[in-house]
Amino acid sequence: MKIVQVRRISQVFFFLMFVWFCIVSTVGDRLWQLRGWPVNWFLQLDPLVAIGTILTTHTLYRAILWALATVILTIIFGRFFCSWVCPFGSVHHFVGFWGNRKKSMPQKVQLNKYRKAQCIKYFVLIFFLVMSAFPSLAATLQTGLLDPIPLITRSFNLVLLPIVDRPVGLASVSERFYVGAWLTLAIFLTAVFLNLAIPRFYCRFICPLGALFAILGRFALWRIGKNQSECIDCKLCEQSCEGGCEPAGSIRISECVLCFNCREDCKEDIISYQRRASLAGEETSPDVSRRGFVLSLVSGILAVPAVRLSNKLGSNWVHKVIRPPGALSEEEFLKRCIKCGQCMRVCPTNVIQPGGIDGGLENLWTPTLNNRIGSSGCQYNCTACGQVCPTSAIRPITLAEKQGHGEFAEAGPIKIGTAFLDRNRCLPWAMDKPCIVCQENCPVSPKAIYTQEVFNTIRADALTVKKATNTTIETVEDNLPLDKFATGDYYCVAEDGERRKIAANTENSIETSPDERFEKIPAQGSKIEIQVRLQRPLIDIEKCIGCGVCEHECPVSGKKAVRVSAEGETRSDDRRLLLKS
């Protein structure tokens, strides 16, 4: 079999594997659900994830060790990942090939020529790595914005899959929603359609992971090159060159993505994958100008302090940014989150949403809870997000830790925020209507939402007794709405304060049930009032964990009458609300 065919099989295999992992990232034990599928494998193979988190945290978290395998293979063989494994690369490869397949050979050679701008990806890499390189000062991991694996992971999981799966329902019982998914899709499609202008546009010009591989592959033991210095200079080898690495001349090893098209296209068998350097000469180092290098270095050094000038990690922190349970303190969280969206994908209730820049630039696409979306806030008996997080930006907590049981009893439950009641919007507080849906749904025991019983006189003139027995009162007025007070929530109060539950009413009479007899029959001509019994919700801040199910279920569906904000979250002591007991 030809090596390009093996390469194609490898690309299809890994692409399908990637798609499969996207599909099965649903909590459950069926074959097409999470069970034990290594759904983070591509993210863990990604050395940019590894190096980024090593720079910010000086540790290599668990299965990201897989990246070592990629690094070793790259050091030995060159940028194999780009053309053999990378699912994003395969998409570009295919679209670039398909979109330009009818062009003439000279046009193709023109498309696939080396361009000076291919050095931009090195600047992108330098910029991002410098941003994460000084954790003792201020570091933020922003590689995920353009790192191809997180990029395609969130594009598939948060945009394409929900759209495709909507009529099928394989990946989720309920419809999935992701705020701002349009931006993710726009970036994905832009990257894909740019292949029509220049094949593998993203890989050649932007991809910071590709840039990293280029640097790692400098000393590759095997590399593409000419096995003789003379050739007829037909340029056939450059017509399908995926990397734009000039195999016809002095090949640029750093740009070569090991597609093997040149070897395939060379009719003279001059190009081979060999141990010795190309006999026509080769460029092993990336073509990076000193100016560009310094510029990206300086921008990277200045970027973090510049972003942090808005003080979003200090007193100007954004209370709307509610992180999933187990998330590290904001500063540590930002050192690890790669914006892959796995937590948003796996969250059974769909409450974890991609953050926007309203939470600060660094917040973009990081997990943020939105209780207005999804089925029921952060589910009490669930820790899925932390289990799936590839970098431990959200720690893999146990239920006992989340709920503060067992050995965590002393530490208490993990609070992700605090519910605040808006008494100006709450039905029982502001409008004298019974409700307490929030109390009903509060999952902790004892409930963090408790109630206060009050009897409020309704807005109406006092009624005058015309005739009365122990259980019926006929009124002089005859304008009561029929059976309006028969709901079990309304009471009739006599002048002496005796209060009885109303069972039925007509326009001019009120009836109590037999067990609600007036001991003293209201006198003729005396006044009676109608009261509504209200259970007004109150929040016990010591018990509230900020799960947001109250906010989700609140029937005041526009601006909710109970809303969670991040005050009191246990992950950061400086956002504490109460004194320690």
Partner: protein, 332 residues
């Protein structure tokens, strides 16, 4: 290429173009004519095609309307309770399709008692198949929390499937609008209709739970799971909506599980300390009667739950369960 200098050619070209223009104008005119609307958009809510939930009840049999069985093992008490009412054969005929509506409201493990007990569900499913000869048994609910998590964590999904039942999750297309005759709240309101549309019998299974707003959540409150849409607004008038649900749903049989009763912190619970053992299981064809007995397990009386009297007044059942001559028994 058009040769504009040639007069002949220009005329032919003009005629051809005029023909195409004519067709375009005719098409635009036809579309405008067909779509012309001189009334403007309708205001108000569209009345959807309304459906009515079928009547699943079976003929009344004196002295066999309610059975109350004491015992610590809910599977045993269940078997006894059904046997005392005439056996499952009275409720399920061979070849019938049975829907079971357990309370699966929350994503909570069985030990916390916030949802119907999975062993109970499994046993009812088995009885329907083995003794009742049912063709198919469907287990379904429209939970408050995320449906898949609720069915998984409550253990009901697995128990039901293992016993051979089909678990149906709520999906948008399964909801249809209904209006309850004589109802005040259920008017043109979406209900979880799909799973019940083509079944012959309906069995409701609910635990006995404290419920702060309504007083108690039992077999009648269990029908709340059939409501779709923004059902939370009905909490403003909880007694009426529960009574209307009892009017709307006419089940074949309801099972009220008071083996362990959630005394406090309901309906979610969250701690085993919220539960109290009452070792009681009630089977009845009358949910009002079942709940009227069941409220005693929560130390409540019938007047504490105004929805009971309301449902009785509407003809959905009787609060005076004594009048039905309940069959009492003890197992184990």
């Amino acid at each position: 290429m058009t040769d504009q200098t040639s007069e002949n050619f220009g005329r032919r070209e003009f005629l051809s173009r005029a023909g195409k223009a004519g067709i375009s104008i005719a098409a635009a005119g036809t579309v405008s004519y067909l779509l012309y609307d001189n009334k403007g958009p309708k205001t108000g809510i569209d009345t959807e095609e309304l459906v009515t939930l079928p009547d699943f009840s079976i003929p009344y049999q004196q002295g066999q309307t309610i059975s109350i069985v004491k015992g610590p093992d809910r599977v045993e008490t269940l078997k006894k309770a059904i046997e005392l009412l005439g056996g499952i054969e009275r409720f399920v005929k061979p070849g019938e399709i049975v829907a079971i509506k357990p309370n699966v409201a929350f994503a909570s493990p069985p030990m916390l008692g916030a949802t119907a007990n999975p062993e109970l569900i499994a046993e009812v499913v088995k009885l329907c198949y083995s003794r009742g000869g049912a063709k198919k048994v469907v287990v379904t609910d429209n939970p408050i929390n995320e449906p898949a998590s609720c069915f998984t964590l409550s253990g009901i999904g697995k128990a039901a499937s293992a016993a051979g039942a089909k678990v149906v999750f709520p999906k948008n297309h399964l909801f249809k609008h209904t209006t309850l005759a004589g109802g005040r709240l259920i008017k043109n309101w979406p209900i979880f209709f799909g799973p019940f549309e083509k079944v012959d019998k309906l069995i409701g299974i609910a635990p006995v739970k404290d419920h702060h707003r309504s007083g108690a959540s039992m077999t009648m409150k269990n029908w709340y799971g059939l409501l779709g849409g923004r059902r939370n607004i009905f909490h403003q008038d909880i007694n009426t909506i529960i009574a209307e649900l009892a009017m709307m749903v006419k089940p074949t049989l309801v099972i009220l599980d008071g083996t362990e009763v959630m005394m406090t912190n309901g309906p979610t619970g969250g701690s085993v300390s919220d539960l109290r053992r009452a070792n009681t299981l009630i089977a009845s064809t009358d949910c009002v009667a079942a709940d009227s007995y069941g409220c005693g397990l929560l130390d409540l009386t019938v007047p504490d739950l105004p929805y009971l009297a309301k449902a009785e007044k509407a003809g959905a059942g009787t609060t005076n369960y004594e009048s039905l001559k309940p069959i009492f028994a003890t197992v184990g």
